[in-house]
């Protein structure tokens, strides 16, 4: 891929990833976030985190479908860092708008409520991934260790799903689409590895 194409692609991705944030800022300034702006900010940042997390999980299986899609990997770090950006905004909404920065209230929340606990766990799982996203960190850790560390995205995705299910009222099915997408993306990995192995075995046999 030409360098100029890559820059263009990354610029487009940046802008696309900033759209939900820009929408929130615009809404906050104009007080147009609907009847319950606090909940709107919490929901928008949470859902954006979830869907961007799904996009990062989709990149690996998608590029294996065709060598022509291999350029997708160049965008994964960018989207991944936006996952952390929105997860952090989501967490700060909880700190500021739900607990008014009260340490006591937050401790209470984390220890007493499992959906908050698993939400906090999700953010903590994403933190080392964001911290080790620089080229320097990759070099320092070595590719193998770095890859191993970044497997944390899988438990993070599972925790995010649990957080969502535990947050909604019993009987409400709105986390279902996200759950199915992530389940499919996680299952795609062993399935594709198995298919590849079989193809390779056939090639050897032939």
């Amino acid at each position: 891929m030409k360098r100029s194409t890559l820059i263009l692609l990354k610029t487009v991705a940046w802008i696309a990833c900033l759209v939900p944030f820009a929408w929130l800022v615009w809404g906050a300034v104009n007080n147009s976030l609907g009847p319950d702006p606090t909940a709107e900010i919490a929901n928008t940042t949470g859902l954006t985190t979830l869907w961007m997390l799904s996009i990062t999980l989709a990149i690996s299986p998608l590029r294996k479908l065709s060598p022509r899609l291999s350029w997708l990997i160049r965008l994964r770090r960018l989207v991944g860092l936006f996952v952390f950006f929105y997860a952090t905004l989501h967490m700060l909404t909880w700190v500021a708008l739900y607990n008014n920065f009260s340490i006591q209230a937050m401790l209470n929340d984390v220890t007493k409520r499992r959906f908050i606990m698993v939400g906090a766990a999700t953010w903590l799982l994403l933190l080392p991934l964001a911290v080790t996203s620089t080229n320097w960190a990759i070099r320092k850790l070595g590719g193998r260790n770095w890859n191993r560390l970044h497997m944390l995205i899988y438990p993070a995705a599972v925790c995010a799903i649990i957080h969502y299910w535990w947050k909604v009222k019993t009987g409400v099915l709105s986390p279902m689409p996200f759950t199915l997408v992530v389940a499919a993306l996680l299952l795609a990995r062993p399935v594709m590895a198995w298919l590849q192995q079989r193809r390779r075995a056939r090639a050897v046999a032939a």
């Binding site: 906050a28 007080n31 976030l33 609907g34 009847p35 319950d36 702006p37 606090t38 909940a39 900010i41 708008l97 008014n100 209230a105 209470n108 929340d109 007493k112 409520r113 499992r114 959906f115 535990w166 947050k167 009222k169 019993t170 009987g171 409400v172 099915l173 709105s174």
Partner: protein, 326 residues
């Protein structure tokens, strides 16, 4: 000069599917009015006769009188927010869904059945209920169990006024409210796994408390469909889900009736569900709430015991452990 034969039915006269559905529901109430052999075209025409009436009934102004039981010193939530931010799961689980989907609720004709432990089962037509007592303007705070709140100018009269007309037997210890349910009208009801129809209930003394309002309108007009038209109850010292919408049955019973959210998650939603900042919901604190319609940095406020109605209702729960009976 007549060039072609005009079509039998003008397109403006063809009934839409939703209007037809409404008609089908109304039909259940039209005892024998529609002969079994009526031709489909005639039925459609009949639906047309009813349709404009529905339009005219929405947002009808109500004659009201002031009430000493109204809440003062609060800024009212806007009509826009009251009508676009609703929990009415029969019409979808998102807050904006009821405003979009509740148009098909057939609010006329409408009757409320009174049954169970009463001297004689009764049926009240909605128009008779509206005339039973003078309609009062009552501003109440509304606190949702999800920790948001509004201030709403309801229109109605104390439910006790209706109960007095029902002659409940001494064995009637509780009263159960059942909401309208028709899965053809409320096609969104399967977005959750709730068992319909929506059921709520009160202890008799709670139902007889003058604050408990049989509610027909808000902001001086008939209830919009998404707010529980044409008649609902409002119990301002309890979490919002206790205040059943679009009521079709009032049943007097001797045992605590089953209630919808309590069925779904008994550890989260108690039968009493009094607003209580000292008893947290298992998944969030109830100490504070978000007032709807304010900028995000002004929403947060302290939740009041019994939603600020302690003077009128605290005595109902004397000697009870509200942590256990939440």
């Amino acid at each position: 000069m007549l060039i072609g034969k005009p079509p039998d039915i003008r397109s403006s006269e063809i009934t839409s599917e939703s209007a037809y559905r409404q008609f089908m529901n109304r039909r259940r109430f039209l005892r024998g009015a529609v002969a079994a052999g009526a031709a489909a075209v005639a039925a459609d025409r009949l639906a047309q006769v009813f349709e404009p009436q529905i339009e005219a009934l929405a947002d009808t102004k109500l004659q009201t009188v002031p009430s000493p039981l109204t809440t003062t010193g609060e800024q009212l939530t806007s009509l826009e927010d009251i009508t676009r931010y609703n929990n009415f799961y029969e019409f979808g689980v998102n807050k904006g869904d009821p405003a979009k989907n509740a148009g098909g609720l057939p609010t006329r004709p409408w009757s409320v059945k009174v049954e169970g432990k009463v001297a004689k089962p009764l049926t009240f037509d909605i128009d008779d209920l509206l005339k039973l007592r003078p309609l009062e303007d009552r501003v109440y705070r509304m606190r949702c169990v999800e920790a948001w709140s509004m201030v709403i100018p309801w229109v109605g009269y104390s439910l006790s006024e209706l109960i007095k007309q029902c002659n409940p037997l001494p064995s009637a210890k509780y009263v159960q409210f059942l909401s309208y349910y028709d899965r053809h009208v409320e096609k969104w009801a399967n977005e959750s796994t709730i068992y319909w129809p929506y059921s709520e209930g009160l202890r008799m003394d709670e139902a007889m408390n003058p604050l408990t309002l049989l509610t027909f309108g808000l902001y001086g007009q008939t209830l919009p469909n998404q707010d529980g038209a044409p008649v609902r109850v409002i119990i301002p010292w309890k979490y919002g889900f206790k205040s059943a919408k679009s009521m079709v049955t009032i049943k007097f019973v001797d045992k605590m009736p089953h209630t919808t959210w309590n069925d779904m998650a008994p550890n989260e939603y108690g039968f009493y569900s009094n607003v209580n900042p000292n008893v947290d919901h298992p998944r969030w604190s109830q100490k504070t709430e978000r007032r709807i319609g304010l900028p995000f940095y002004e929403q947060r406020r302290t939740t009041l015991m019994f939603n600020g109605y302690s003077d009128q209702v605290a005595s109902l729960y004397k000697g009870m452990n509200l942590r256990k009976d939440f």
